[in-house]
Every structure is written in C-alpha cells, then in structure tokens.
C-alpha cells in the first residue's frame, strides 16, 4: 500500500515546485550588465510574475546573479557571498564576460570562466543580454529546478578542492575559508 518511492517523488516534486516559483535573487552588479536588471524587475518586463524578486542579503537569497565581468578583487567577495548563501542556491552567469571573458578576454584583471570558481547553473549570453533573454534565463533555471537538475551547491560541496585550487590560482595571498562539510 504505502510506496516509499512514490512518496519521495511527490515530496521532491512539491519542494522543487515551491523553490522554482519563489526565487529570491541577489543581483551582484559587477559589470555593465547590471543595468538591464532594473528594466527586468520593473513594470515593463516584471520578473516578479515568475516569482523572481530581489533579496537584501546573501543569507536570504536563493539565486546569485553575476552580472558581467568579474575582476579578481570582486571574485574574492563573490566567493564569500556564495558561501554565505544557504542551500538551495543557484547561480546565473549573465553576459559573455562570465562565459569566456567577453570583450575583456585579454584583460589582466578579470576572470574568464566563472564556472571554474563557482558552479554556474545557467548562463545567459549576450553583451549585454536584453531583459527578454534574462527572463528566458530565469525560465530555463526554473525548468532545471523543477527537473531537479540545478544542483550547483552539491557540486560545489563535492568538488570543493577543485574549486579551491582554481580560486587560489588567481587569488594569491588571500585567506579562503576551510570547511569540513
């Protein structure tokens, strides 16, 4: 009568359903792309109809949005912010700069591949992405969540050594917190 497997699936389904429909977003405005966010969040494109809205602090946020190029100096803070966020947490890389360096591909002070330093669930390409593509990115993330595939946080925990190694390669002389998860 009582099917444990099915119950699990239903619980997972409800969890993912609620998660995907209330994404509290911490927009880390690192690059120029941040200017598209006010448009996305306000009345014209109104991301809140998808359940996406701003969060005040990392600890209250589910979704970290890296909007553009990331200098190594900012990367330190982003790593801190990411580690402060509570599970479940998702990351969206926003703009070509986070994907492959974009037009800063030969800059001495910006990182080129965001997913080497923190796990990224969805990339939105474009320089800069229009609000439509940002919303498409949100939808894609919601799809991944509802399928249970947005597991960046688990990936980060499991491969912390690999991420730390990459982080230390660019952040010399910077104390990174050790965890014993």
């Amino acid at each position: 009568m009582y099917n444990d497997n099915n119950a699990q699936t239903i619980v997972e389904y409800i969890k993912n359903f609620t998660r995907k429909n209330s994404l509290f977003m911490l927009a880390y405005g690192t690059g120029c792309g941040a200017i598209e966010l006010p448009a996305t969040l306000t009345s014209r494109y109104d991301a809140e109809r998808l359940g996406v809205r701003g969060a005040a602090t990392p600890r209250q946020a589910d979704l970290l949005l890296i909007t553009g190029y990331l200098s190594t100096k900012t990367l330190k803070r982003v790593i801190r912010v990411y580690e402060q966020m509570q599970d479940p947490k998702y990351v969206i890389g926003f703009g070509s700069c986070t994907i492959n360096g974009g037009m800063y591909w030969d800059s001495y002070n910006t990182i080129k591949m965001l997913d080497k330093y923190i796990p990224v669930d969805v990339y939105i390409n474009g320089c800069m992405p229009r609000p439509e593509s940002v919303i498409a990115g949100f939808k894609e993330l919601q799809r991944l969540i509802s399928e249970g595939k947005a597991d960046g946080a688990t990936k980060y925990k499991e491969n912390l050594d690999w991420y730390r190694e990459n982080q230390k390669k660019v952040l010399k002389n910077w104390p990174l917190v050790e965890y014993n998860w």
Partner: protein
C-alpha cells in the same frame, strides 16, 4: 570667421611673464598647454590656483613614452571663470620615476597619485595613501606600463574557454542562417 584667442592669449602672457623655462602653447580654443620641467610643476599649480583663478583640478594622468624612456605626467586644471583648460605637462625619467607630491595644493590629487603609483609605478615621496588602490596582491610590474604584456599574463594566469582561439568572423554564417543580407558598408569591416 577666424577664431580669436583673446582670453587664451592673456593667460599665455601671464604664464610667460611668471615663469621662465616653460614652453607654452595654445592648443585650441579654451586649451592652453604648459610644458614644464618637473621642479616647476608645483609652483605653476600654486600660481594657477592663487593668481589665475583655477579653482578646480580635473585630472592627473600619466603617459608612458617608452621610446624616449620617459613618463609624462599631465595635470589638467579648469577655471570656471575663463573656461580655459590648463594642461601642465612634465616628463620624468622612466627608470626609477619620482615626482613631487602635490596633494597639499589640491587634495583630490591624492587619489590620482595613488592610481598612478599603482598603475605606472611612479613614486611620490612623502604622500600618504594606502598602498593598494584597485589591484590587490599585484606581483608583476605595474600593469599600465607599455612593456607589461597583458596577453602573456592572461594566458599564464587564466584559462580560456575553448572555442574562440580561431576568432572566426561568424557574421556571414549567421546572416546566411537567418536569410539576411549583409549591407555593403558592413562588408568592408570583414576580417577576411
């Protein structure tokens, strides 16, 4: 109509009588250039501030003349009354570059000096400012110097995502895919 430089001429004469050893030039309307040796920069700045009504300091920047083994420091002042930009330029040697600290004349010079110390390695003895400004734990030569090879540094420090080494011109492919015409004026920028 021929442009007349009446107020620029006036400033020119004033500076000419006040300082020997400087080369003056009226670059264009509302821009006067002063080429001065480095000891004269502070006196000129002070004179401009006290006597010529230069209330505002706009910018201090640095140019790397690697061919001449020199750095050029450019102080840009702005007078709201006459609306003339005054450029004070001076050259210092590139090996062991030292320039007088002038942040006692305008406090905002302090910030620019911090930047130039970090980006070009020019030292300003006696000025107080945190050592690190934008870069943190920088171990190479100052990055804005022209002999700093950015590309080398980047390929050493960061990994590039595969797929953009060939730097293809994909406009044509995209245009074909969506059945668009590339306009003629855009064709001349093609990399092929």
């Amino acid at each position: 109509m021929e442009t007349t430089f009446i107020k620029e001429e006036l400033l020119f004469r004033q500076l000419e009588t006040a300082f020997e050893n400087v080369v003056l030039e009226i670059a264009r309307k509302e821009a006067v250039l002063v080429y001065a040796p480095k000891e004269l920069v502070a006196p000129i700045l002070l004179y401009a501030k006290e006597k010529l009504g230069y209330k505002s300091f706009s910018h201090l920047s640095c140019v790397d003349w690697i061919e001449n083994d020199e750095f050029e420091l450019v102080y840009i002042l702005w007078s709201p009354e006459t609306k003339i930009n005054l450029f004070v330029k001076t050259r210092i040697e590139r090996e062991n570059p030292i320039m007088e600290n002038t942040d006692t004349i305008w406090r905002q010079i302090n910030t620019y000096q911090r930047e130039i110390r970090e980006m070009f390695g020019v030292e300003f003895p006696g000025f107080i400012g945190e050592k690190e400004f934008i870069l943190e734990d920088w171990e190479e030569i100052p990055p804005m110097r022209r002999d700093f090879d950015t590309l080398d540094y980047v390929s050493e420090t960061f990994d590039e995502r595969p797929g953009r080494e060939d730097k293809q011109d994909v406009r044509e492919r995209i245009a074909n895919r969506s059945g668009e015409e590339i306009p003629d004026f855009a064709k001349k920028y093609s990399r092929e």
